[in-house]
Amino acid sequence: MASLKDIRDRIKSVKSIQKVTSAMKMVAAAKVRKAQEKMEQARPYTHALEDVIHHILPDIDRSILDLLEVRKIKRKAYVVVSADRGLAGAFNTNITKVAQKEIDEFGKDNVDLFCIGKKARDFFKRRNYNIIESHIEFWNDLDYDSAMMIGRSIVDHFTSGKVDEIHVVYNYFINLAQQEIKSEVLLPLVYDDKEVVSTDRLYEPSKEKLVSSLVPRHLNIQIWKYLLESYASEQAARMLAMENATTNAGDMIKSLTLEFNKARQAAITTEMLEIVSGAEALKE
């Protein structure tokens, strides 16, 4: 049986771990809120952009837009959005697992990879996948520039004909307790024909030029959305994991305290027995 001192030390260390996990939980909660705010803020811009694109598209020849070009798929690229850090439950494991499965189904040798976040990079690097580019350590100061930077290299990879389709695998933020891994086609972009009310508006320089400058921007905002969804999911997953860790630490402290009390009581009982039997022995 562990000595009293051992148990006391363990209680102490579990308590300090509990402090850390509950602080991490709080930090994660604040970060989720921030990410959600950013998602809200991006909405008006996205709506306006999509609105204009949908207005113009019916009037122009889509084949001038190289980001919409559907080719026969010989080679694909995958963008895997993960986190830089762990301690977020199964967040990183799940995303890399899903991505790996999809990639292997198509054939590892015919897939180029863009890794977002350290965890995805490390995972695929170890397994010798064909990584074209990885973007790491930008999550802490996540801004729109990072989305544009990632967007640029992905677009180049597609338009230069190196791959015929680009997928993105990311965590979709449903709510604090739920995230869903989604795999979507990023490129070529697909625009459904929507019923639009035609208006007598002036488009300058020309509809074609306007839309070809707007479509890449639309892609950037989509990448921004994926980054934010994933970031919010990561923090939510971490929040949940840390909440569980805090509760578990609480349980552990409880059972350790019980064990401590038992051990103390046992020690007292033994001592008393010794004293009593000593006194009895003296009487005789």
Binding site: Y45, A48, L210, S213
Partner: protein, 132 residues
Amino acid sequence: MEAFSVEIVTPIKILNQESVKYIRCPGIDGSFGIMKKHREGVFALDIGEIKIETNSETEWYSTSGGFVEIGSDKVELLLESVEKSNEIDVKRATEALERAKNRKSNPQEKIDSTRLEASLTRAMNRLRVSKK
């Protein structure tokens, strides 16, 4: 002069500006001005500076492009990024400029010249606007 309201919408923030008299925007085919009762339409914008004149003051913004939507009662600027002249991080812009210049003078094999030109233009534009 009649005034109108302007909304600057970016992916990360929305700025409102009331009682604007005149805006000058960097259009793709050259800059153009907007005043009240401008014809409605959508105009693409390039990297450049935006000048907004209100009743009391004149403000300068640098942008990396987007478009402007002119409606009957208001003007919406939809920009990928926007910075007010006095909020531009001069140090960062200078660094970006140096980086771009360096890359231009020591060309490596895997370099995208259009992208390089664009980052050069962006950095120079930000520096220029920051001096307004």
